[in-house]
Symmetry: C2
Subunit: 408 residues, 2 copies
């Protein structure tokens, strides 16, 4: 990949993704796959005035060894070092950047039950830090190609060719062309228009139908908002883009109102494993039945992680004719696949999808119907013939999606 | 490199280098150059019963960006996260493994003065932790080839060939043959015999002479011991090998007694830069004059880091015909070059070179003549015709080295 194009991508991530401010601290989490690109991002952060940048490298084969050999007790411990890390994050409101390059199958063969139990044990200790941080700091997830990931997508190519092709895909989907920052400004404007249209109607219900078997209704929050594109931090009011790429307009639905069956249209990568060909059936907002052709046990574990894991936290709308979907590539990666298709998420909802959410405590947001959970896992349900109808309080039906695409 | 030979090397490092015990915590510091080998070492640690292994990856180009952009104030800060890391080390007596693969020129172009000032500011905060840890935990430095390092040694080869050749060198020097652990047992036995010989004489002075211009006398400690090869942790009494490879027999000299000129016979890699063709002149134990053809300013900064930086902390004896020197390779890396040649070190001495050192506090060791400093930097003075004579209290002169090699 040409150096100049990578530099534009690094600049996009730092200026438009994180929007790094003078004096800020930045944490970058990444694999070992593209260290030269990571160095570009680090330097760009400092150029934008960052005071301290910390790179937390990880290597999936080593992560897998840890998960296999560590006892449940050791995995469950939140060490004083980790607590100090969380405290600094809360204190400095450090920006967080994930440069995802993980092998979608990288954790195959690990014990999901042990990992889930450890996460459950850690959650009560971590939650108070998370609650203090929620919506107050800039974060961004973007991607760089990893060798194993690229080979998974393009098994017919050599490793080097596959990585180069995946770079192309990532940069294309992320709008890294002549002037990526101008392209993102325009894109954010379009997403904001769609949100305004949806929010003006104040829909009570969304009704999904598709030939895949999806036949589903979900209740929306009366105080709820659709969001999309850039957002602002609470307090410091800094505009940032949490996902590069991002095509979605989304909201947090009303906890406890969801009925019917949703059929996934893409595999779900969870804990380094792929859950394939699955469906879920909801009653009164809760998953009451599920099926998966592959890794059903993992899906079951996922929805039973805690009380909130079987309720919905997000409904996201993306045209079937999205740039990502138009690549025709199945990325086996949520960042891309979720932005290629209408999706739902099980688990934690977004407090900032409530109007004037800054006036409510975390507990009040929960009471107002935003789901709470240790997990937040997207899964794709969009299809070529998907229909979504919005139903207002007075029974008016507005076609929002028709034949997989926006009808508005 | 053949997988089987690398597995033997990993086993040697974990069993013979660190000697990992059941339930221990291990910290591995390494570059991004040989992740597959790091994974082997991590797995071997767990197989030996480690409870938790933490890999701290680093990437020199990013380290360089940090050093260039961070303010002195930011570089000087010891964060609460670092303090928590030190506290855990003290609490758990975590084993520490460095897998060195650094580019010897990797930090060229950084500001040595800023780095030195930052290290000086950090030292008083870190020293109490270090003092508590001293001699109580297992540690090991070993090497793996990095691309830039290999190219520096073998500029005539392709990067891939150079890395392969450097693997060969590292494994040869580290005695990774049919049965490396048996080879190390035998090697440690030989080193122990040499130490016994030297310790039985209780030399008061070592006198160095060489055609390179070295003409130098250094006073030894009356309570001093020569050590070499494996050593034992204080308290837990675990036998480990701190350097792989290691050829040296060494002691900490008496602070304040050293006179004459020592001429370096190999370049010194310090803070990622090479100090070349240099000499130092001592009076009453202290450096009073110095010269270097390249990076003299860095050498000056080094000896003035603190009071102890201009005094000696180590005298090490290695035959000119050592396996490492016989490769004929200049490694530009202290671990190898120091084990290829007689050397001295400026800065911190070794308390465990005092007889019954476990009965003395850190302060008492200093009073007994062990030098204290924030630095400990080896530099090579061994040559083909080096002569070293040991002089006993009653004036007896024993030829220890003749024509560069052991005379005993």
């Amino acid at each position: 990949m040409k150096l100049e194009r990578l530099e534009k991508y690094a600049e996009l991530i730092v200026k438009c993704g994180l929007n790094v401010q003078k004096g800020q601290e930045i944490i970058i989490r990444c694999g070992l796959d593209q260290p030269e690109f990571v160095a570009m991002v680090v330097e760009e952060c400092y150029r934008c005035g960052a005071e301290r940048v910390k790179v937390e490298w990880s290597y999936m084969p080593v992560s897998k060894i840890h998960l296999n050999y560590k006892s449940l007790e050791t995995l469950s411990e939140v060490t004083d070092i980790e607590k100090a890390e969380w405290e600094r994050k809360v204190d400095k409101l450090s920006c967080l950047l994930w440069l995802d390059s993980d092998d979608p199958d990288g954790l195959n063969g690990t014990d999901s039950e042990k990992i889930s139990k450890a996460n459950m044990a850690r959650y009560p200790i971590i939650k108070p830090y998370r609650d203090k941080l929620d919506n107050r700091y800039q974060w961004c997830i973007a991607a760089v190609p990893g060798k194993e990931w690229a080979i998974k997508i393009y098994p017919e190519l050599t490793a080097e060719q596959a990585v180069e092709k995946l770079w192309e895909d990532i940069l294309y989907c992320s709008r890294v062309d002549e002037d990526p920052i101008a392209a993102w400004d325009k894109h954010n404007e379009n997403l904001a228009k769609r949100c305004k249209f949806l929010n003006d109607y104040k829909f009570e219900t969304l009704e999904y139908k598709s030939s895949t078997g999806t036949d589903f209704r979900v209740g929306l929050n009366t105080k709820g908002l659709f969001l999309g594109g850039g957002e602002r931090t609470l307090g410091s009011n800094i505009y940032f883009n949490a996902n590069i790429p991002s095509e979605e307009v989304f909201t947090s639905p009303m906890r406890g109102i969801a009925d019917g069956k949703v059929v996934a249209t893409k595999p779900l990568s969870y804990q380094g494993k792929l859950i394939e060909n699955f469906w879920l059936r909801f009653e009164k907002g809760k998953v009451v039945e599920l099926f998966a052709e592959r890794n059903q046990d993992l899906l079951e574990k996922m929805v039973s992680m805690d009380e909130g894991a079987s309720y919905l936290g997000e409904c996201a709308l993306i045209a079937y004719d999205s740039p990502i979907n138009n690549t025709g590539v199945l990325f086996y990666n949520t960042l891309f696949d979720e932005n290629a298709s209408c999706h739902l998420a099980l688990g934690r909802g977004f407090n900032n999808c409530l109007e004037n959410y800054e006036n409510y405590s975390v507990e009040e947001c929960e009471k107002l119907g935003v789901n709470s959970s240790m997990i937040h896992v997207d899964f794709m349900i969009g299809s070529k013939d998907m229909s979504i109808v919005g139903i207002t309080k007075d029974g008016k039906r507005i076609q929002i999606f028709k034949d997989g695409n926006w009808a508005i």
